[in-house]
Symmetry: D3
Subunit: 318 residues, 6 copies
């Protein structure tokens, strides 16, 4: 609905300002001026510090921890931009918090991922730009258009720079739920497939039993996941791979939440490198020496430019 006379402007919440700045830089611009603060009682105050009337506004906010603070800040910013007569409001969510609460597996629980979609829409977003949603169905939680990007090309490009010999390359799935994602990477990168059979892992302690598929003996195992939260799953898979004789073990994930015991677990894990993106900021105390952070800023900037100029976003993936 935008035409070129609605100037594009990117604003950032406080969740991941570094990423937002990189996005703006990629667009050859600086971030829009906005004053974000907390009153003494913790209430968030927002004041947009430049004219946004008729602008095509993109608000970058990862709803990573502290998720409730970051989500409320996003909602309040959306309200301010809407009332300030922005021409169009796109909520850019490099990380979509509460994404795992996307169904009712038991009775009397919320579907918080849907609630978040409703709140973002109610607060005034006209569209959403997301990255590697935990479940693709979350797009359908919105009635406004959602552009859903994938960090896979960014991660794959990096993996290719490692020059792992094709015959040594094994894609390792930490559990059944990640098979689909692993296959997408394997289709691009080649390599064999192996799956950690979690059910047996807990029951037996033998080495061979808990791996399905390709042998890891002397191979380079690469684990792919969408997010690393407490790191239990990825570290478990790494340990299995180590016991199975893998020569080198890598893990990749778009979203590095790294909460709870994650850092401790990762510090002790047999991982040569953990590859993450900057969808969530990594504070210094979590930045282990073997963590490599790739930036999704060029990807998001490109999508923002295409959205603004009405060019195909799907073509980003061709």
């Amino acid at each position: 609905m935008m035409s070129n006379n609605h100037k594009l402007k990117v604003f950032s919440g406080r969740a991941n300002r570094a990423l937002a700045e990189r996005i703006a830089n990629n667009l050859g611009d600086t971030l829009g001026r906005i004053v974000l603060d907390n009153f003494p009682d913790g209430e968030i105050s927002v004041r947009i510090d430049e004219d946004v009337r008729g602008r095509d506004v993109f608000v970058v906010q990862s709803t990573c921890p502290p998720v409730n603070e970051n989500l409320m800040e996003l909602l309040i910013m959306l309200d301010a931009f809407k009332r300030a007569s922005a021409a169009r409001l796109t909520a850019v969510l490099p990380y979509y918090g509460y994404a795992r609460q996307d169904r009712k597996d038991v009775g009397r629980v919320p579907i918080t991922a849907k609630l978040v979609a409703n709140l973002v829409t109610r607060a005034g977003a006209d569209r959403t730009l997301a990255l590697d949603l935990h479940a693709a169905q979350i797009q359908g939680f919105f009635d406004i258009p959602v552009d859903h990007l994938h960090a896979a090309p960014v991660i794959n490009d990096y993996i290719r720079t490692m020059n792992i010999p094709p015959q040594d390359f094994v894609v390792l799935c930490p559990d059944e739920g990640s098979i689909k994602r692993a296959l997408i990477h394997q289709k691009k990168l080649g390599g064999a497939i192996a799956i950690v059979d979690k059910r047996r892992s807990s029951a037996t302690e033998t080495q061979q039993a808990n791996l399905i598929g390709s042998s890891l003996e002397g191979k380079v195992a690469v684990i792919f996941d969408d997010m690393i939260s407490t790191a239990g799953s990825v570290v478990g898979a790494a340990n299995v791979a180590r016991r199975a004789g893998a020569r080198e073990i890598y893990a990749c994930a778009t979203h590095g939440v790294l909460c709870g015991p994650a850092v401790e677990r990762l510090r002790d894990a047999p991982l040569k490198q953990l590859i993450l993106t900057d969808s969530i900021p990594l504070p210094p105390n979590k930045h282990l020496p073997n963590i490599k952070v790739l930036s999704v800023a060029p990807l998001l900037a490109d999508a923002i430019k295409r959205i603004h100029f009405n060019e195909s976003v799907s073509r980003l993936f061709e």
Copy 2:
């Protein structure tokens, strides 16, 4: 819309569980069972632990600090209750956070108090029960029915037990904005009126100049406000009263937010007693010896009972 075959049940978020329990006790019941927790990444998990299908559910949650946590918890609870087929959902908000962001005094700011109303409605509330909203117009921010209670009768009853001699009693307004509220109390309690003239206070340092109305010399000054946040205003008024020769100084407020320098200021203030309600929980480290906490639980319980049984809530004030 309720009939007697929809059983009433009160549930509580984690913001002010003590108040919610008092409300349930006043209703001769216990709180409904609900499991509220945080995942390691800080996301809130909600599981209602008893059947609520067809129940008339009241969810008690003060959106006091940490306001964003408490507000999101309320919204997620509402989503869970709605999906669990509660017959009717009333959000009980003894303290309504963000109430002071109720207008745009400058350009490009949010009206967060309206946003909160929209979010609470979108998440599934059928009605709201509130206490001493900072601005009465916030009722109009909702399209669902709002029952708006006042703690004034509770506070006035307590003041009466002090037996202040009528000729000594002076209602002291800390600023122009509080005159209306002060007059409501004075109408019930009698006494003279004095107003702190803040504009002059800063300019001059003389004692008489910054007081308008009744003399305080040898009198008992009682300050009324709706909330005490950083306590700057109330402590300033107390100091003026002290300099004006008041014999005893009391301050009353419905909502004791007591954030930032509040406790420190109050500790040094010439207040004989600070009277608050339990709309916001007062942690031990804030509970100064001269603070008296009155409970609004009987008031809220009575309103809940009347709402449930379709009796007049207005009659609570007659």
Copy 3:
């Protein structure tokens, strides 16, 4: 959401066509052609008499008395413009009727100011342009953007032309509710402050008792209010000022409703001049010789131009 290829066009209802014409003139244009009439049974008929498809339409209608006629005419016009495919519809409300019904002070009353906001939105307005709303919170009654202008600069400019000696200038507040507004004017114009203490006025008849603040003896008193309805309050204040020895008394208000006994009261009041704006048309029989009408047309025209060209409206006040 507008671009320059959506031509701006101003239309007027029948409430205040003179003001709308002045606005159009200020924009270097004429009013859009629209045929407004009543059928013999009083139903309003609307026919837009020029093409509006893709236009940026501003509909000027003060909802002054007869308020229900004017409000319904506005709603019907909005429906016609929406169905005629206007690109954007802005309801320009120089006077917002029912603004004082903005809260429930007693039980079982409407919040008509909110209802009006809902009706205007439902009928098709995309945004609203308002002038000196009775309560700033009314902005929050809308979920569509509201630009809220103030006539204070227009009135202050006029006051300055009077060249009242600074030491003689006293801003007189007719009641507690108008203190805030008075302070805004006083901040720009200088002068002392005095407040009519209404509660005592009724009780006692003595001259000094019912004035708080600066003495008026030999001074020039200027009363500021947002609207003059039955004129009871402003005439009461003028009489107090007269008894207090004021040399000259002026009254200013944005909205001159002048209903009921207003004209009679004003005719007998000790006012040297009553300064109003043309937000509400003043029929000849109400146009007393000492009434001065300032036009808000330049202000509204400027705001319309800025809204159309996506320029900051806040800057109007700098």
Copy 4:
């Protein structure tokens, strides 16, 4: 959605209080207490004067002239009842103003009948009870349930008491648009059919030419219409019938708007009797001696009772 423990209560606006009282009487009740007034500036004030929480409320308001006053009063009442927590709100519209603005026959006009439906719904009505809507499609303008009653049985019962000899009875259609309605009456009452051919009437002046169908010579002609507004059509038809030799001429209509030249025209018309209902109040100055007013109160009361007790309203017509 009502159960018996939600007490039924009928309230009335000021448009047609006499009818509302008759409805309440037919229900063995009195009207609910509500204070309706106008402020000096003409704004409507509403205060419900008895508890309505959890009641099944029916608000009777004909939106007859002054239509805008009556419609706004209805909307404000609905807002008040909704905020006062009525269990269910039914707008009872014995006459639906603006019903003829139900389509866009030319470009750039409103569809006010649809706008009214939207406004009534937005203001809070849960359902509508209407009588002889000008076009049946207006039911579809609502997404809330509409019960649509017909006064035909009431009118037919009265016609039967006249004992017109069947062979003398001719149903006369004043124009093509009324043929369908006429056939409905004729199906119940018997008689021949004649149609006034308006197109020729204006061109020629001969007597026979402008009538299609049965001869009226010496017959009793009965004209049926849904509403009589300026009475041009019905008086024209009566004159045609007189010239065609009709012995007696009657006219019947549900809604007697009688605006503009209606009374004057009717006074001179060759009508033995004009039969109307009390859907619109008939002031004494319009009550010509030959007007007979039938009450639809029993019909509306019966429908209200059936709606309240969840009984079939369709059965009213069997």
Copy 5:
């Protein structure tokens, strides 16, 4: 809301692709690429095969039989275009199925024409372009703008090419419901009027009795209707005309549904020619030799162009 930088693009469902192609040709363009198919279980699959982000999209779909297939295909296409970020979505409905279900004549039936309007809006249409709706009130079933075209000029132009002598030309109404439509044609084309009196037709078998108005003896009778469904009404009228001595009989209708016994009836009917438009595709087995199909493609293309360029659509009829 469109500006010229949003390129216009026409897409077609499978209901009437030939018409859509003609429309695109008239616009000097080709149809947009979209892949429409059915999965083996009959579910419709939609994939838009070119970029539509920021385009002004018109989706042509007649909801003719199979109506449910065609309607669902339209709704699914709308969902796909909305999620693909089309700038504006216009549903072009040359034939509006379910239009006759526009009221509740008996209790407990749907108003499907309104339901369809709600579904089309909910699925994402921003506006609708329709042709000869069965009832003009259907425009009011939509809250989005509807442009309502009439095929009458197309049909009249064709009739004029027949050069029927004015004195021989009789417009024949097949029933009372079609009188209004017939008069519109007669106003443009001249000629006399005759009406088939259906009520009597069934009762008596005499030739003269069942015709009202002009004699048909030796005349050219032209029947006008909005749609021909089972052809009962039009063939009945043709037979009446034949018995009444008409020399030639024509029938015209915008929408040729031709379902059930229609083709059989028409084959045996005394019609010299049946004139239809291509609003509904006519399969070869229904294309009788005496059927003439006029194209509404130029009319629809012109309207689409005007909508896109914000020019008056009303002017199409001047």
Copy 6:
């Protein structure tokens, strides 16, 4: 929101009337009377043939093939029930068509499963009762409450009657996507797990290579899926099992769509028995001798009863 004075009534569309009758029988009732038909042009006509005002209505309709007919019939029925003032409307969807269109895997496609949720809600459903949704996230596509049942207990009960020796029992997953479902059955039924590795199956033709997990040699393989559509996947798995030496092969699925080549494939497949439920009707020509149909009517009836009487539906699974 229901109380006991709102009588429960079950109605059925034409998609699966036999199941609806079984549900009604299980409730000790007969189906509600409703007349469903098609006009000659294929439009669906609906007339509810008994009073439903104030009833708690459950409309049973599987949106199985012909899916668009069945879905539109459901929507039209919902419209009719809503307008007939049903107290509450529950759409009972034993099979939810379009469930697999639940995400955008490529650009510019619809999310039809979400569209269906929006349409069902817009047409008037207050709640939904579904069975084995293809993706659990579809619950989140609704903002109205969804009760989601599982046929697993019904199927498991039947499997248990087969008395397969535990050591012979192997749960066979036809692909990776069905592993989760298989594990749910295996948890209740015991047995080993084997997975068909589809990727390899296509590449190689060797027998062992395409099975992961437990050996099938001499075992009883039971395949579990949620639906059988063209039967390609299940028959492929059966063939793999046969080649792997399985002694007996069973397949189970809740929804037997059996479209396209399904019956042909199944006729030739090495399946001892195919176990389906009656969520979709199985016409005689598809009812192969080795198909066993279990009824979900008791399960659905129990859920309906619990919903009506406000009892826990979750307890159905304990």
